[in-house]
């Protein structure tokens, strides 16, 4: 009885030991694939929207959007940009009379955007704006064509 009991215990142990001895060490994990790390280059600055108004808040956003102004108004063009990096924004303000145009003002601003930004350009004329039609074109970097154009009226 005792012998049988010992045998009953030893046999499974031997089997386990045998299996354990036969088992080869697991192969080393394969080296990680050699690929370039994912590039997380931010998108370059782009113009998303342009809003006109006669006043802006502390956040530089137009408080009351409008495309019609009075002669004594300061006129704001608020340019929302997305993306990040260095960019040059240029606002070209023009008076339009029929097929003739006259340059009103041209202002350039260089920014180092880290993300979405609010950029405002403004013009005023102490002697009063002549009545008529105007436009403001927003150029990004060295582009020859505007990224956005807004027309407005002074009456």
């Amino acid at each position: 009885m005792t012998m049988k009991r010992h045998a009953a215990i030893l046999v499974p142990l031997a089997l386990v030991a045998g299996v354990a001895c036969k088992k080869e060490p697991p192969p080393p994990p394969p080296p990680p694939p050699v690929t370039a790390p994912p590039t997380t280059m931010p998108a370059p600055v782009s113009v998303t929207t342009v809003t006109l108004g006669s006043a802006i808040g502390a956040d530089k956003r137009v408080t009351a959007p409008s495309e019609a102004f009075g002669a004594r108004d300061t006129i704001y063009a608020v340019v929302d940009t997305g993306g990040a990096g260095h960019a040059t924004l240029r606002a070209l303000w023009t008076f339009v009379k029929g097929d003739k145009t006259a340059k009103v003002d041209e202002t350039t601003m260089e920014i180092d955007a880290t993300g979405p930004a609010v950029n405002e350009f403004h013009v005023s004329k102490p002697s009063g704006w002549p009545k008529g039609n105007y436009k403001v074109e927003i150029f990004l970097n060295d582009a020859a064509t505007p990224a956005a154009t807004k027309t407005f009226k002074v009456s």
Partner: protein
């Protein structure tokens, strides 16, 4: 008086004041001005800043196109740095 390079039918916008600012850091603002006959840096500084002695600010911002402050030419486009106390600030 310096001759004006403008269409007689069109209004005069020479007294327009402008500025810009941004929520983005390191915003640098300047106006672009095209030199007209009869202009000098001190005349431009007087008109823009109200002080002819500020001509050095304009010269220093344009050393890439102006080598001699006494020699500027009609048609040259120069940068006019924004007034430091201008409405809206520069976003710096």
């Amino acid at each position: 008086m310096a001759p004006q390079d403008k269409d007689d039918d069109m209004p005069d916008f020479s007294d327009v004041q402008s500025g810009a600012s941004s929520t983005a850091p390191a915003a640098e603002v300047h106006e672009t001005y095209e030199i007209k006959p009869g202009d000098s840096l001190s005349k431009i500084a007087k008109r823009v800043y109200g002080d002819a002695r500020e001509w050095k600010r304009i010269f220093e911002a344009n050393t890439d196109v102006i080598k001699d402050p006494d020699k500027i030419f009609p048609g040259q486009k120069i940068k006019i740095p924004a007034k430091e106390t201008e409405e809206g600030g520069e976003g710096r």
